[in-house]
């Protein structure tokens, strides 16, 4: 186990290094660097000479490439992401402020994804080509192909504008009611963004669960379990699903970048003050330190999540440890 852990951690080092390098390259798309010599991107958003000068100083853009790289690595190692161009506050502070809103949104989305995808996938995979399998396949396929911003607009139109059941956007009403009503108010505001963030990964994950269960149920140990007199339900959940679970655990880590991508769109539509909106606003206002800091955070968080998922899989499945 220890050997497996060490090996897995060692393999993550080059990836971590790669993430830092890629963000470094991203920085060179920013103005004051060769890639942007052609001029400012969007019309009307010309970067001022002062900002350019600041970029040069902050990232040492007037130094030779290797020196710049060493500087960058040094700053990253000290968790020093610089100051936001917009309000002069440390990038890490701005990220910390936006983090809870995004965690609430994505945590709930992840919870509902798993809570729905597993039963749907097991039920569909339990009887392949059965009526439930066919019906759920069509629905999941439709959800999978539905652009999130369109789904968001339709839900807003139907549930907020036409029926008036849910708030159009925002985190809470203004003024926010206190006590238990305040909580209900918050949940009401969460409903639509969480739905929008959930349905895509739900479709993706339920199909994987189904495929895993279909594959596992045709194997000998499931037949044996049924022959021993276990009920279909027991054979399915205790034997087929447990074995189908393993590859899924390793895939969990990869849900994170998808959720963060979704957050950018969902948080923008629903005026949600999280990381996704911070990233998008920073892109528009050319707040490079924030953009780079968030990119770095997104990459490292995903790496950590895949690492945790791999280790979890090894704890559950001794075979994986021995292979390594």
């Amino acid at each position: 186990m220890i050997r497996y852990l060490v090996r897995r951690l060692l393999l993550a080092i080059p990836t971590l290094f790669g993430i830092v390098v890629l963000v470094f390259l991203l920085l060179h798309l920013a103005p004051g660097s060769p890639a942007s010599a052609v001029g400012s991107p969007e019309a009307g958003r010309r970067v001022s000479a002062a900002a350019r000068e600041e970029m040069r100083k902050l990232y040492g853009l007037d130094r030779p490439l290797p020196e710049r790289f060493v500087r960058w690595i040094g700053r990253v190692a000290r968790f020093d992401l610089g100051e936001s161009f917009v309000d002069r506050r440390p990038v890490s502070e701005r990220i910390r402020e936006a983090l809870p809103a995004t965690l609430a949104l994505n945590g709930l989305a992840l919870f509902f994804t798993l809570a729905l995808a597993v039963p749907v996938g097991v039920a569909a995979g339990g009887r392949p080509e059965g009526p439930f399998d066919r019906a759920s396949a069509v629905v999941l396929f439709a959800l999978y192909s539905m652009p999130v911003f369109w789904a968001a607009l339709l839900l807003q139109t139907l549930l907020s504008v036409e029926l008036g059941w849910l708030p159009l956007y925002g985190v809470s009403s203004d003024p926010a009611p206190g006590g238990i009503l305040g909580l209900a108010d918050r949940l009401e505001h969460l409903a639509l963004p969480v739905t929008c963030l959930t349905y895509g990964s739900l479709a993706f994950f339920a199909r994987l669960v189904r495929a895993g269960v279909v594959e596992a149920r045709s194997q000998d140990f499931v037949t044996a379990a049924l022959a021993r007199g276990l009920s279909r339900r027991q054979a399915l959940w205790r034997h087929a699903f447990r074995n189908a679970l393993l590859p899924l655990v390793t895939l969990l880590g990869l849900l994170l970048p998808g959720l963060l991508s979704g957050s950018v769109i969902v948080e923008r539509i629903f005026a949600w003050p999280g990381l996704g909106r911070l990233y998008f606003d920073s892109i528009l206002s050319r707040d490079y330190p924030v953009v780079l800091g968030l990119s770095l955070l997104g990459g490292v968080a995903t790496l950590a999540a895949t690492l945790a998922a791999d280790i979890a899989a090894a704890i559950v499945d001794p075979r994986l440890r021995e292979e390594a």
């Binding site: 080059p14 990836t15 790669g18 993430i19 390098v21 890629l22 991203l26 798309l29 920013a30 890639a35 942007s36 052609v38 001029g39 991107p41 969007e42 396929f141 439709a142 999978y144 192909s145 539905m146 652009p147 999130v148 911003f149 369109w150 607009l153 339709l154 807003q156 139109t157 504008v161 159009l168 990869l254 994170l256 970048p257 998808g258 963060l260 991508s261 979704g262 950018v264 769109i265 923008r268 539509i269 990233y279 998008f280 892109i283 528009l284 953009v291 968030l294 990119s295 997104g298 990459g299 490292v300 995903t302 790496l303 895949t306």
Partner: protein, 270 residues
Amino acid sequence: MIRRLSGSGRVALVVVALLWLVAAVSPLFAERASEIRLDERLRPPSLAHPFGTDDLGRDLAARVVTATPISLAIGLVAAAVSLLVGFGIGAAAGYFGGATDLLLSRLIEVVLCFPVLFLLLALAAFLPPSPATVVLAIGLTTWPSDARYARAEILKARNLDYSRAARAAGAGPARILLRHLLPNALPPLLVSAAFGVSWAILAEAALSFLGVGLPAPASSWGGILSAAPAYIEEAWWLALFPGLALFATVSAYNLLAESLRHATTEAGRT
């Protein structure tokens, strides 16, 4: 290939063909799509304007039709860029193995670690706005999945008899890859390409919706949709119809990809 497609796959193929047909005749509607009538703004769907009118009084149906070739073409070209980069890197990793594989696989892993939209937005917003930027940004962020696919296929095929025979006959890596391995990996790559197109269309729509996609005069479905949030309380048709076109297109390509996958795996490769 087409004969092996399932019923739904054929339907998808017909829908894709129809979409390209719409794209082909769309220039006929260009004039109507750009006609601004401020006295007709935000009219609900009617016989004269089947999809209603937008905030400048332009006919929404004509606008959706004229956006078709833009969305389709960007999707196709971006997917091609992604496939080209992905196949090159994935095939090299699978074929050469060893240190090359280790290095290229790390590269794939690194790019996969980033939220796609983060990279996409940064590339699209920081580079000068043009269709080429959009295409490159999408292609350069989505290639890792193609690369993984290509790597697995080449890894499977490189030790089969025919490629060993080619090697024994003195063929170099480039020749073996392009003349022997590529044709055999083509069906699964086609699946990857079809998924890639639907992905690229979605990505372009997302960029344009967020306002960092194609520059002003051109408008894709995502671009038309970007006006919808401002009028969400009065003009539902602004959101419904362009999104419906997008949804139909993405579904058709996904369905096509799915049945291609069935046709190439279950029916057995010959």
